[in-house]
Each structure stands twice: as structure tokens, then as C-alpha cells.
Amino acid sequence: MDKKDELIILIAKARRGDEAAVAKVVELGKDRLYRYCLMLTRRRESAEDLCQETFLRALQKLNQLSEPGAFYGWLCQLAKNIYIDQLRLSSSKETPTSAVVPEAPAREPFVGEITGESDTGILVRTILSHFDPEDRHLLLLVDMEGHSYLEASEIMKVSENAVRSRLHRIRQEFLKRYKGGETN
């Protein structure tokens, strides 16, 4: 049985409230989701909270997952939506009249904050801070999580052409900064 089939069976059991299946689903997905959340939020504490919140919401909404095989993409989309909601909430509390959504400042010291992270990882996180969460999400879905353009379009509910053109723009900007030696 391959990993995808195993996951589908586990999700079916988790939907029925099987605690062992729930624990296994979390175990299989936590590292991957945590890495995604880290790249999205760029902060360790925010990534931990977001990862936890995403799993809890996902476990409540498992019955809404129409394709268990698309679990990880669905998880990332959920995390992105929760993150944006949290940003809007904190924005409305702090600066109710402002249209700009505040995020973790790009100049935070990342070096040494995440155990095992390479310089490339630190640099990528720094560069990602220049993109809005939707652009970050798309980039991570395709280039880090390995989803195809079609899968990304289904996850984000936009056309495949929109995904391609948007991603091309984001990648060009990203590489410009990467090659330019973006620093803190």
C-alpha cells in the first residue's frame, strides 16, 4: 500500500473520530505543514501556532475534504486562510483605519532561530517577506510543496492560466532578489 492510500484510509478513520488515526494523520503531516507555515509566516512562534490551529480546524472540517488524496494541498490552503484572517484581525485591532496588513518585520534576526535551517532557508524566508501572503502561498504550493499548476489552480480556485502568469511574475521578482544577494 503506498503512502497516499494509507493517508486516505487514515482520513476515513479520522472522520469517524478514531483517535489513533487522528494521531497518525498529525504525525505524518506535521513536519511538512510546519515547514510551510514557517515559510509563510517567517517566524517560529507564529508557525507553531498556525500549524496547531490549522490541524485543529482541518480535523473539524475533514468531512468537507472532497478528495482525501489532496489532503496536504488542502491543509496549506487552510493555513493560508487562517493566517490572512489573523493578520486582518490584528490589523483591525491596532490600526482600524489602515488598509495595510501588518506582518512580522522583515528585519527580524532569523539566524540561529530555527534549528537545522540552512543559510539558503534563512535567505528564502527573508525574500518571502517582500511578497504578500497570497503570492507566498502560491510560490510555496508549487515550488516547495511540488504541486502542479493544475493542482495549485484547483486548490486556490483560480484558472490554471492565472496560476502560470502570476507565478512567473513572482518567480522573476524572487530570483532578482535572490541573485542580488538579499540580506537582513
Partner: protein, 195 residues
């Protein structure tokens, strides 16, 4: 030109994949406590959900019992007017004669002030009168049920007009119900018949 664009797209895509492959190659893992925290919250949520289901079932069962008790009071034969409790739902059955069953298409129910139709919608509760379609087959033995409540004690007259297919009034009848304080409902409640 198109092939040049395509080649450039592919080059950019390859570069990006290589960068993120390097990111994934590092061993970033979720903190060890994260899984146990998620499971603890999940278990708590499951316990709360089970409690909610239990209390919801209990409250529905109680409401159902109240409605049944009210309709039993209405249907039991007696010489006096049926008695209902204030601020509790009460089912009234309109009985039809055999002849009515052939000619009646609607029943208009008109309530006195302080008596309300039972509904989750405020606009229906606040209505003074309501027209109900009558389908003899659907109502079975010629009964039309509707549910009311009163916010005060006293004897109240509910007017029922039987209306024909051309909107003509076939007959008007009055149902009298005695509303009493909760706990003081008379055992000898009457049927909700048209008098």
C-alpha cells in the same frame, strides 16, 4: 519568440525548484510538543461536542414532550373548553366534516391579541392571521393542525374560516381555548373542535 519564452519559463522554474529543494533538504521539523498539543486540544473538542449533542437531544426531547402533552390536552374529550398553559406551545386540530373535505381548499386562522402562531420566524409569530392550504389527503381524517401560544391567562377565541377554491367563505367557526398559568392546567381539557 514563443519557444524562447517557453525556454526562459522552464529555466526560471528549474532554478526555483533547485532553491526550494535546498530548503527542503535541511531537517526542519516541527517541535516535539506540537503533536501532543494538537491531540490534547482535539480530545477536548471531542468531549465538548459529545456534551453538546447530549444536551441538544435532551432539549429537543423535552420540547417534543411539551408539544405532545399540549396536543393530548386538546384532543381529550371534555365538556369544557380546552386548557393550555401560558407561554407554551399548544396544538389545535381543526376537524372537517365529510362535506367540508370536498369543498374546502384553505383555512384562515385569525388569532386574538396576545395569542401567537408558533414559529422560529418573528414575522410569522407576529401575524394576526394566517391562511393554510388544506389538502384532505395530506391531513388524513379531515384534521388541520396548527400550533399557537398565548402570553397571558384567560379564555381566548380563535376564529377559523373555511374557504373554497374561488376564495369564498364557506363557514366560520370559533375555537375557544382557556389559557392558564403553567402548572395549573385542567386535566379535563377539551378537544380543539370547531364549535
Amino acid at each position: 519568440m514563443a519557444s524562447q519564452d517557453k525556454a526562459e519559463h522552464q529555466k526560471i522554474e528549474s532554478e526555483m525548484k533547485a532553491i526550494f529543494a535546498a530548503v527542503k533538504a535541511t531537517s526542519i521539523t516541527a517541535p516535539p510538543f506540537l503533536q501532543s498539543r494538537i491531540l490534547a486540544h482535539w480530545r477536548e473538542g471531542q468531549t465538548l461536542r459529545r456534551r453538546l449533542v447530549f444536551w441538544r437531544a435532551l432539549s429537543f426531547a423535552s420540547l417534543g414532550a411539551l408539544v405532545v402533552m399540549g396536543s393530548l390536552h386538546v384532543l381529550r374529550p371534555a365538556e369544557t373548553s380546552p386548557t393550555a398553559s401560558v407561554n407554551q406551545y399548544y396544538v389545535i386540530h381543526v376537524d372537517f366534516s365529510e362535506k367540508d373535505q370536498q369543498t374546502v381548499s384553505q383555512a384562515e386562522v385569525e388569532l386574538p391579541p396576545g395569542v401567537h402562531f408558533a414559529s422560529s420566524k418573528t414575522e410569522v409569530r407576529n401575524l394576526h392571521s394566517l391562511r393554510l392550504p388544506v389538502r384532505v389527503a395530506a391531513v388524513g381524517r379531515g384534521k388541520l393542525p396548527f400550533v399557537v401560544s398565548s402570553d397571558h391567562e384567560g379564555r381566548e377565541s380563535i376564529l377559523v374560516r373555511l374557504i373554497g377554491p374561488s376564495n369564498e367563505v364557506i363557514r366560520e367557526q370559533t375555537i375557544t381555548v382557556q389559557f392558564a398559568k403553567s402548572g395549573s392546567v385542567d386535566d379535563k381539557a377539551g378537544r380543539g373542535e370547531i364549535l
